[in-house]
Symmetry: C2
Subunit: 198 residues, 2 copies
């Protein structure tokens, strides 16, 4: 905190790297928010202004829009995957699964245009599906398995069913009615309880 703190002059790169990291984070966060509202074809300016960085910074990190889209998606997959163990540590099995499923639904519902971008065949997206499989699916399976082992979810539903149902319920999530997909997912989650159907 004090300006008297000894500085390792031999490592001048460190603050520059920290700045670059901050700019990158700000860009990815801004892009995520803009994509969610305006879509992945949003004007670059809308993203850089929100991030508080210049166009040059954007283009240095992401020469093409596809690179930015892929990076946003990858970061979201990581954040969603990282949330799983954190929720498992904090909540009982059903609540951990419920929180995570809402988080995942939010991810699915707000990635406007990302899905079609992913299917356009651009090599920037190579590996994203594998990343989803490697990071997100195991994180989810752990939560689902814990809830199953605790006997708190009904026996006739599989992990895949739940992911699929959330994707379907968020399909065509309505920008004019942003809460609807989430409410539908909430209802589905309540129906998952082993004692829901009486």
């Amino acid at each position: 905190m004090s300006s008297e703190t000894p500085v390792d002059i031999g490592d001048r790169a460190r603050p520059a790297r920290a700045d670059a990291r901050r700019n990158l984070d700000a860009l990815l966060q801004a892009a995520k928010e803009v994509f969610a509202t305006t879509g992945v074809e949003a004007p670059v300016r809308e993203i850089t202004e929100r991030a508080g960085v210049g166009n040059a910074t954007l283009y240095r990190h992401f020469p093409r829009r596809a690179d930015l889209i892929a990076a946003v998606f990858r970061r979201e997959i990581d954040a969603c995957a990282d949330a799983a163990p954190a929720l498992a540590a904090e909540y009982a099995p059903f609540e951990a699964l419920a929180h995570w499923t809402r988080r995942f639904a939010d991810f699915v519902a707000t990635k406007r245009g990302l899905a079609s971008a992913l299917h356009c065949g651009d090599p920037a997206y190579d590996g994203l599906y594998a990343h989803f499989e490697e990071r997100l699916r195991p994180a989810f399976r752990n939560l689902f398995g814990a809830a199953r082992a605790a006997g708190v979810i009904r026996g006739d539903v599989e992990a895949e069913d739940l992911l699929e149902a959330v994707k379907n319920l968020c399909m065509g999530a309505d920008v004019a009615n942003p809460g609807r997909a989430q409410r539908m997912v909430d209802i589905f989650i309540d129906g998952l309880r082993s004692d829901a159907g009486r």
Copy 2:
């Protein structure tokens, strides 16, 4: 039952009309079943053989495939609409709504290819959407309204939400896994109960 039963010779048309009606019903039922398994492009022979009628009968009633598809869809809408008051009379409000919703899900999940046929612009389909709106939607709204009035469904869901959720959950209903969409709808229905989220 007895061959001695007096017959009104003056009304020879009656048995012929009854036969025609029976053939028509058999055709529509067969077409519905074949469309559900093979799709709306199924060979005509598969339909006539199942119905036990000749090709001439099929073509007399339905000169073009679009006419047959439209008739199957219209009959299904009617059956689904007619089920609503019958279920309301037999069951308590939640159960009536649950039964009907499963019936509707079955209708949505098994109409393979019908949706895309409907969007091809063939005039045979004119009026089908209006028929859905006129017959199915009010029937459903009555059941939903009764459940709402009885306080047995959660307050944050609207009739439209439920129809939309069922359509989404049945989207891409898997022929290899025919029970999945129905199980997903069951889970959703359980989540609808006003006391489901504890």
